[in-house]
């Protein structure tokens, strides 16, 4: 993360100790699984197929616009011709393929979905935007449903552009904000109804009322047709915190982004998970009392760098702050996964919360 942490070693170790209590004491008094309050609205842009805006209490604000355009499907370059298409493989696919979708199943392509993230003061090939869009893309693609729904006929498909604008300088890691906004925007996204048939050039009903939702709401699909959400989780000692603030990120042992989607059984499934390099690793370590040249110059003057190192090492971040080393234990990871996916766990809570927005 580009922006540097404005906290002193003392502050860092204070935060760390208070957060590693059980239960952890968060600076803003939230419970470990609690999210920060936010204001949200959808369908704010006439020119887009779907849109949403979310504003966090700390003023960070994001707008997402979804636009769908018809595009001619191109034959893959370098591909082989018909002869090979014959021995296409088993059409296994997911267990729960409903009729209406089945003919499209497996026909969608990754490149039909394009996510672009703009963050003020950053070029779009800076690491943060790239990382974020990669994370959101793989979450959306992981359930084949979405891209399959983009299939129109063998010659044409929808191209879905998701443009994500962060309107404010990234105060904290903007991932949750962007993910939630995207979720809302996609839920509200509508696609014109197709009136042409089969492989002829597609014709659409220009009546907006007739348009269908990209994530169908009617019927038994209800359960499975929700875009995924990506949550940011950090671990500090034994504690696990959701939607961490910047300060909390600055002292965490590990951070990970975990994307969940609703699966048929109304339960949640993990569709993507990746660890994030926590900014805490770049923080400055504190100076142990024994090494404090101002308090006891006599002692420190004689010390060679090697000896100083030894003393630091011995301290092991007990008395003063030391940037975390190593990674995270498997036990914690599986605990996090559980907290997210379990029935009425954090994941469901969040999705339910967002569902309320459209009302």
């Amino acid at each position: 993360m580009a922006n540097t942490i404005p906290l002193s070693p003392a502050e860092l170790s204070y935060l760390h100790t208070s957060l590693s209590q059980t239960p952890p004491i968060r600076p803003d008094g939230r419970s470990p699984t609690q999210f920060r309050p936010l204001v949200a609205e959808t369908d704010i842009l006439p020119s887009a197929n779907g849109s949403a805006r979310i504003c966090f209490a700390d003023g960070t604000e994001a707008i997402v616009g979804v636009k769908a355009e018809v595009e001619k499907s191109s034959a893959r370059p370098g591909a082989t011709t018909d002869d090979i298409f014959k021995n296409s493989r088993d059409q296994d696919g997911d267990v729960d393929v409903d009729r209406e979708e089945s003919d499209k199943e497996g026909k969608g392509r990754d490149e039909w979905l394009e996510i672009a993230i703009e963050i003020p003061g950053m070029r779009d090939d800076d690491s943060l935007p790239v990382f974020l869009s990669a994370m959101l893309t793989e979450a959306l693609l992981s359930d084949g449903g979405l891209k399959d729904r983009l299939w129109i006929n063998s010659r044409f498909h929808w191209r879905l552009y998701i443009d994500i604008l962060l309107l404010s300088q990234p105060r904290s890691y903007p991932l949750p904000l962007l993910s939630l906004t995207t979720h809302l925007a996609l839920i509200s996204t509508r696609i014109p109804a197709l009136i042409s048939e089969h492989d002829e050039d597609p014709l659409f009903n220009d009546d907006w009322e007739a348009s269908t939702f990209l994530y169908p709401r009617s019927g038994e699909l209800q359960a499975r047709s929700k875009p995924p959400v990506t949550l940011l989780v950090v671990s500090i000692g034994e504690a696990v915190l959701f939607d961490p603030s910047r300060d909390e990120l600055a002292v965490c042992d590990s951070a990970m982004a975990i994307s969940v989607a609703q699966s048929a059984g109304a339960g949640l499934k993990v569709v993507a998970l990746r660890m994030i390099d926590p900014p805490s690793r770049l923080t400055a370590g504190g100076v142990p009392q024994v090494l404090n040249s101002t308090s006891n110059p006599a002692a420190t003057a004689s010390l060679s760098p090697a000896e100083a190192l030894v003393l630091r090492e011995k301290d092991q971040g007990q008395t003063v702050w030391r940037p975390p080393r190593g990674g995270v234990r498997r036990a914690i990871i599986s605990r996090i996964i559980k907290m997210v996916v379990e029935n009425n766990g954090v994941g469901e809570e969040v999705i339910a919360g967002l569902a309320g927005v459209e009302a």
Binding site: S88, G106, S263, R274, R330, S334
Partner: protein, 314 residues
């Protein structure tokens, strides 16, 4: 018609990769996994092939020669060739601010000829993303505070990348792809780790990469978990890469894609197994180079010898 003014450009007409048609009389079969589900492909790893760099390493998973590789121009099974050089610790660039720790930066680039469809010269988002993954894998390992106000670049060139799927498979590239990338990442983690050792930068452990995948079981339906999957051999549903520290049983980097459902944790455990296997190779390679250097230096003390004759083992 936007020509790159820093390179020799393609003819203005623009070119397309060849399209192949297989005569129907020559059958083409998807390569089948010959090794056990929990068996890793052979890994070749060497360090110190770029003497001018602080550290360097070369990583290779040689392709398995199938019957078709002789008859067909198109490679049926995929392989992996990765080089890595480490420069540093060295002074930070002029514009950089003071940093109390080692600023480790990673850079992953595919060679234009590394994949079936030609790669561009500038890093695309997937390559940048790979770099980020690697960064989080390595930053957890190096003891940064021992290297104040200095930087360290880890540069990786992928000469040959894992396939995303089976070329003959009409849907291969269309099903949610990027499986190859995960194999590449595992390789990057291991090779970078070796190069860091070679550079002599303090690390809490030797991090090694491992992949496992949840693939549909070729024999009958259902799924099974396989180590070190070669995407061309499997129909992958979900996969997981880890950067694993064996001695502390910790994970510095994890990347999971697809829906593993209830098997999620099993998948992670398998990936860790794979990482443990690569670690042994890593250990061997590093030991070897250490011995080599040790003898070399005290030989240098005795009779002066050119620095060139013993390196270049890769």
């Amino acid at each position: 018609m936007q020509a790159d003014r820093r390179r020799v450009n393609a003819p203005p007409g623009g070119t397309t990769p060849p399209v192949f048609a297989t005569p129907s009389n020559t059958p083409i079969a998807r390569p089948v996994r010959s090794r056990q589900p929990d068996e890793h492909r052979k890994i070749f790893l060497r360090t110190g092939f770029v003497p001018s760099a602080s550290g360097s390493a070369y990583y290779e998973i040689p392709p398995e020669t199938t019957s078709q590789s002789k008859t067909l121009l198109i490679p049926s099974s995929s392989s992996l060739k990765i080089t890595c050089t480490v420069h540093g610790p060295r002074p930070l660039p002029r514009n950089a601010a003071f940093s109390p720790n080692l600023l480790l930066s990673t850079h992953v680039k595919f060679a234009p000829f590394a994949t079936r469809s030609r790669k561009g010269y500038v890093r695309d988002s997937s390559e940048r993303d790979l770099g980020m993954h690697l960064e989080s894998a390595l930053r957890g390992v190096v003891i940064g505070e021992r290297w104040p106000k200095s930087g360290c670049e880890v540069v990786i060139t992928v000469l040959e990348g894992e396939e995303d799927g089976w070329w003959g498979d009409a849907q291969g590239a269309e099903k949610s792809g990027g499986w190859g990338m995960m194999g590449v990442l595992a390789g990057c983690i291991t090779v970078a780790s070796a190069a860091l050792m070679d550079a002599g930068i303090d690390c809490v452990d030797m991090v090694s990469g491992g992949v496992a995948a949840l693939a549909s079981d070729e024999r009958g339906n259902g799924t099974r978990i396989v180590l070190d999957p070669s995407p061309s051999e499997h129909d992958i549903k979900a996969a997981c890469v880890v950067g694993y520290l064996q001695s502390r049983d910790e994970i510095t980097e994890m990347w999971m894609k697809g829906n593993a459902g209830v098997q999620t944790e099993a998948l992670i455990d398998e990936a860790v197994k794979a990482a443990v296997m690569t670690r042994s190779v890593l250990g061997e390679a590093v030991k070897e180079s250490v011995e080599l250097k040790a003898n070399h230096t005290d030989r240098n003390v005795k009779e002066k010898g050119s620095a060139n004759d013993v390196t270049m083992t890769g």
